[in-house]
Amino acid sequence: MNPLEMTAFEIRREIIEKQFSAKEVITTFLERIYEKEPLIGGFLTLCREEALARAERIDKKISRNEQVGSLAGVPIAIKDNICTDGIRTTCASKMLHDFIPPYDATAVKKLKEADGIIIGKTNMDEFAAAVVSAGMAPIALDSDAGGSMRQPASFCDVVSLKPTYGLVSRFGLIALSSSMDRIGPVAGNIKDCVITLEAMQGEDRLDSTSVRHSIKEDYMSTIENGIKGMRIAVPDGETAFSLKSCIEKFKEMGASVEDISFPMTEEALSAYYIISSAEAASNLGRFDGIKYGYRAEDFRSVDELIERSRSEGFGEEIKKKIILGTLVLSSKYYDAYYNKAQKLRRKIKEQFLRVFEDYDLVLSPVSPVLSDIYTASIHLTGVPALSMPWIESRIIGPHYGEGKIFKAAYALEQELKEGNKNEL
């Protein structure tokens, strides 16, 4: 009985059946972290005491035969741009080196309500995936703040979902690009991804962009229904070798797979850069050294305090984003850049959504340029996308099409588990 070799789903089951305690689970994972962390450097903060205390509470609940949540005793790593009450949240930035949020992000709050246990805060970029891949936590919360162009999960042997924009509350996610930022689960398998999403999705009155499309879907009950009759689109010319076996499997399982020609252009990339930079420049204004975060030591006026704190506190990449964002929003260039980018965004959205009138799912292309255009389009349109370790592609669905994505991904996962993953 080794929790390190189990899925989150199994860990919870074994804790409830008292095969081992939540405390033992946490201890085991902490040991794993101490062993692996020097090689990976995935964590910025570990929550040892808090995690052990919560585990004890859950064990107590179980010993009293009380109901426990869907993530009972499961260790969860949280990316360091998602606020955790009383736990340092730095965005891996000098700017927020000492920032301790006075509240939990809604997603974190919901995971806690499901009796999940926050084990630590992961470094930015691909580290949420790395931590899960290295077995230091069965589940992590990721957010490619600002919509980074990387697709971390596909490099790390884990499943990663970017849910429909608005499905998971952004409240507590330190904003970079408000209209694109999303929190999503990273896990070792599809079902763990599903239980995490189910625990944290849904309406939040603190996030107006979530309230408007609130749904609460139970994906788990339909996930094994298979994909017979599903229509899957593959972008023209992108039946790459790496996708071939995947497509074959889908067909074998009763789905129809068709080539489509997709009017995607590099304009999507420009629109994406302009909008994400504009929003980031505005969102990052609050880091002025006045109320929290890094403050320059030497200043003679308020203006100088703000200027120096920002110059010294931000990294190079962020500064570039701020400069670009400030330019495209300035009154002189607003129409030529920001406004134009928003028009493009609407156009891209229409084009993208039109595909889903005829198809249930789209497989994203693999070639680097096209792949980037698709990534930008996913950010701009807010559709859900799932990365799997066994295919280089991502499965893209329509808005709130998570159910369809999970069905297809699960079917593929089962197929590949039974056969040999290496055959791909």
């Binding site: 998602i82 949240t89 603190l206 107006s208 609050r286």
Partner: protein
């Protein structure tokens, strides 16, 4: 040369909501510094705004009252700039699409009625407040006001004199108060006014360079500042030095009674306005508009007309009473308690306003419930106490909150209408003033007035004057016989 003054106003009014525009912090005035704050209005990383629906309703109501067109769909925008009192480094406001477009307010100044057009009404959040402790060399920030909901009402440049500007602000304030949109307390900053002013030759259509005036915190300051600026600009035009009039913001210094430059147009920030991606569109449907229309309170213009027709009051008196919503409501309550409308008005315009002014109280703070004042008026009308005594009772009621009957009893103020008792007093007055009696007999009718005064004095003002006069008259005539 003959000049014409062109004035436009920008008025900020605090919306009368219980909570802030984007969080649930209370809006009440007078809390300890930073007491009314939370992670959202402090702009703590990760927090998001959620729009207060009551505020939207109030803006729409303001729009309907001020004859605006309501935008069915509007958005919140970010105005980006750095200042320590602005927690997010942007103010959430409406730049591209305000809730209300157009509109107008009818005013009367110097006997002339005019229609002043509005440009727009939009909704926005207030910023915090910086407190500079010069002696300690530090600045403190109070974020209690950060996120307080405001509306900004922008007029067209339709006002032609400082008097008109004041008349407009008075009319607008009264409409906002009647609509329960804002409590409009200028001294607490819940109503603030900026003014744009320029001069041009009479008959000229184009507008000349305008100057923006800030820090106009009362009707008086608004008028004085505009008059000062009008004079300053006129002088420069007359001296042909109009190039010295530059587009700038000037601050009214109430103590020095002058405007001084704050910043020029070149210093103005580029606010980089863009739609706030954290907030969806504000959709205002016909049902909501109908609902608000149905519940619109009576506006001052209508109330004035009604007071004229129903109570027969004079225009001048109506303007004062209806000018303050609370006063007009008090008046109606008083009348409904049975006070004769004109008598009631006399009390309000006289004793009540006098004491309110003396004590520095607002119309909503009249300490005497209208039914109690009604009782006092009734007692006086019935002749149970004299008018003079009535005034004394009123002052006592105002001061202590006690009711009229108790005060009359305690002070022994009830009027003496008992014939026997009055005769006794009069007899003693007459026997003490034999000289006056002989004067009267000698034809000096003045003596009767003196004797009446003595009677009132002897009765401590409680003698029923009519009856006392009657008895005195009888006695004097008898004496003559």
């Amino acid at each position: 040369m003959s000049f014409e003054t062109v004035i436009g106003l920008e008025i900020h009014a605090e919306l009368d909501t219980k909570s802030k525009l984007f969080c649930s912090c209370p809006t009440e005035f007078g809390a300890n510094p930073n007491e009314n704050t939370c992670p959202i209005c402090l702009g703590i990383p990760g927090t998001l705004p959620a729009l207060n629906a009551k505020a939207v309703t109030l803006v729409v109501k303001a729009g309907l009252i001020l004859n605006c067109e309501i935008n069915k769909e509007s958005h919140m925008d970010r105005k980006n700039y750095f200042y320590p009192d602005l927690p997010k480094a942007y103010q959430i406001t409406q730049y591209y699409t305000p809730v209300c477009k157009g509109g107008y307010v009818d005013i009367e100044a110097a006997g002339v009625s005019r229609r002043i057009r509005l440009n727009r009404i939009h909704m926005e959040e207030d910023a915090g407040k910086l407190i500079h402790l010069e002696a300690d060399g530090v600045s403190l920030i109070d974020y209690n006001r950060a996120g307080i909901p405001l509306i900004e009402i922008v007029t067209e440049p339709d006002l032609r004199s400082p008097e008109e500007a004041v008349a407009f602000l008075i009319a607008l304030k009264s409409m906002l108060e009647y609509g329960e949109i804002s409590d409009c307390r200028m001294e607490q900053g819940s109503l603030r006014c900026d003014a744009n002013i320029s001069l041009r030759k009479k008959g000229q259509n184009a507008l000349n360079t305008r100057v923006e005036l800030k820090n106009l915190n009362s009707f008086k300051e608004l008028k004085k500042a505009l008059e000062y600026e009008e004079k300053r600009q006129k002088k420069l035009y007359t001296l042909k030095e109009e190039d010295k009039i530059v587009q700038e913001t000037r601050r009214w210094e109430a103590v020095k009674e002058e405007t001084i430059p704050m910043r020029s147009k070149e210093d103005a920030d580029d606010y980089r306005y863009f739609p706030d991606p954290d907030l969806g569109p504000i959709i205002i449907n016909d049902t909501l508009i109908r609902e608000i229309k149905k519940n619109l309170p009576e506006m001052p213009v209508i109330r004035k007309k009604r007071f004229r027709e129903l109570y027969g009051l004079k225009n001048k008196d109506i303007d004062i009473i209806v000018g303050y919503k609370a006063l007009s409501e008090y008046y109606e309550a008083l009348v409904s308690c049975g006070a004769e409308p004109k008598v009631g008005a006399k009390w309000i315009l006289g004793s009540i306003l006098k004491l309110l002014n003396e004590k520095g109280l607002k119309a909503e703070q009249i300490p005497i419930p209208p039914e109690e004042l009604g009782k006092l008026i009734e007692i006086i009308e019935e002749g149970k106490i004299s008018i003079t005594a009535g005034q004394e009772v009123f002052s006592e009621m105002f001061r202590t909150g006690k009711d009229a009957e108790n005060i009359i009893k305690e002070k022994g103020l009830s009027q003496i209408s008992n014939r026997l008792e009055l005769e006794r007093i009069i007899n003693s007055v007459l026997s003490n003033n034999p000289q006056s009696l002989s004067d009267y007999a000698a034809g000096k009718k003045q003596a009767a007035v003196f004797l009446m005064g003595q009677i009132m004095k002897a009765s401590k003002g409680r003698a029923n004057p009519q009856l006392a006069n009657e008895i005195l008259d009888e006695r004097l005539k008898k004496g003559l016989l």
